[in-house]
């Protein structure tokens, strides 16, 4: 992401005393190896991997493990986007700034397609990344709320199991809710 190059926290690190940089480098050097459901290997910095509650508890159970952690429910494509999100989040842990965090989160979802968002939700759920799940759920809610019923069915791949009479009745009951719907 181009914006990370301009991120002020990176500039700030350079001005820190050299010993601190050394420690940080030493810490960040530790990598965790993770294997996705489509057999791709990811080497992720420990601090990023610890954002995944599922992975964190794996290492709490086996602290000295150097094994590759299998992620059977996680395909590589959404996983790389999840890593991108967590890398950004870590910066805000060290340097909390709610306004900047909100801006960064909305930037993150803005450039994602519907498919990207929907693919990341089960991954964020499996890895138990609460912040990301909140951001993704809100983004999907924002994208569908002004849309038609047909759009939403298509979005989630849902088959209409109402008879046309049943559906007509529901539409009549809450007719005002069908005003101001965006075009598909």
């Amino acid at each position: 992401m181009s914006s990370s190059a301009e991120n002020p926290t990176l500039t700030a690190e350079i001005t820190k005393p050299s010993t601190e940089i050394a420690t940080e480098t030493a810490q960040s050097a530790k990598k965790i190896t993770l294997k996705t459901s489509d057999d791709q290997i990811f080497e992720v910095e420990e601090s990023v991997a610890m954002e995944f509650a599922t992975v964190k508890s794996f290492f709490e159970d086996a602290p000295s493990s150097t094994d590759t952690v299998p992620l059977p429910n996680v395909p590589a494509k959404p996983f790389s986007q999840v890593i991108e999100f967590c890398k950004e989040q870590i910066k805000f842990k060290a340097n909390p700034d709610e306004t900047e965090k909100k801006r960064s989160n909305s930037e993150f979802v803005k450039e994602k397609t519907n498919e990207d968002l929907v693919e990341m939700i089960p991954v964020a759920n499996y890895l138990e990344i609460k912040d990301l799940l909140d951001v993704l759920n809100q983004a999907v809610a924002d994208r569908i709320q002004n849309r038609s019923v047909e759009y939403v069915r298509s979005f989630f791949g849902i088959d209409n199991d109402f008879t046309s009479e049943e559906e007509a009745l529901l539409r009549e009951e809450h007719a005002w809710a069908f005003e101001d719907v965006d075009e598909d």
Binding site: N114, V118, E119, V140, F162
Partner: protein, 396 residues
Amino acid sequence: MKRVSLSSAEVIAGNQDLLTEILIRIPAKPLLKFKCVSKQWLSLISDPRFCILHACHHRVLNPTPNALLLNNFYSSTPTFQFVPLMGDDASSHSQVAVFDYLNVSPNYWLKIKNSCNGLILCMSIFYGGGFDDAGSELKGIICNPTTKQFKTLSFPVPKFRDSKTYSSFYGLAFDPLKSQHYKIICLHVDYRGSKNPQVYLYSSLTNSWSFWQNSLEAPTLYGFVNGVFCNDAIHWCSYEQTTLYFDVNTESLKIMPMPPIFSTVNRSREFMYFGESRGRLHMAGIRSHFISGFDVWEMASDYSGWSLLYHVNLRSVKRAFPKKEFDSFTILNVLRAEKEEESKVVISVDSTAMSLNIFGGTLKTLSVLEPGLGFPADLGYEGHDAFQYFQSLVCV
């Protein structure tokens, strides 16, 4: 649109927890539309537990009401005046002010008595009862104007010897963050008798009324008859030095002070508004013969007393209505905002409901109010006619 990968979408659609987390973030109105998506969505969106989760999410996110509903001076049609508070989709919400689904018989008037976090308590009153509720048969209706769901309740008849001389006061308590159940309180006071209110409490959990023993005396003059819910208690106000509130948690009546400046003995201000915003009780009033502004008072959370919160300047209103005498000026609602500089009051001047920014003085027209039936056209709607409406799916 591009169809998203079926596998992930189906994982979400098939996982009730994941789907719930998305749907609680969607406002109530679009969710009514999404009841048509599938039988699973209909069942989830209609589930009372989902509706409470949804209400909690939106209550925490934005404790500001979507609109105000105003009593129509006993209009014979069950349609209330609608004052939108959220600017973006104002007109599309006005449908919620039409209560025709209650099927109130033409011989009855429908009047809003209380509103609380999306629920509304109405009374349907037989014409013959006139303006005094006493003596007429009382039928209460609790409803959610968003979903049009309603329930009819028979109100308890007090045990007074003379049924013509008592007055009744009501309160509705509902806080989705605390409980999915609501309570209704009904105080009957016979001012010619002992002045001890007879207290009846309805709980939606048991769907029944219980009689409450009480030894406290009611203030002789109640200023506004509608109980105001705030922080687990229902409050009434009076023109005396003290007034009563009902603590819903301990189920007991308690005494709280009134601002001395509004009491009849020492009255230097006309008292015009009693309400709640963001978990605090507010009163507002105007200095007699001095209409350049009005004061808003706020009750301390420990009930120790009232303090002056704002002095609201009416200069911008006077500029907008230079020829007006301001006889019909009323305060409909005080709305504190998360950012103090966005706090506003909703006022009515010359049959127009407007929001006035307390600090900036910015004036914005919200809606034009119709005159009530059989009343002089210049008679304004008052604060106790205005009820906060929250768009919500909560069940009655």
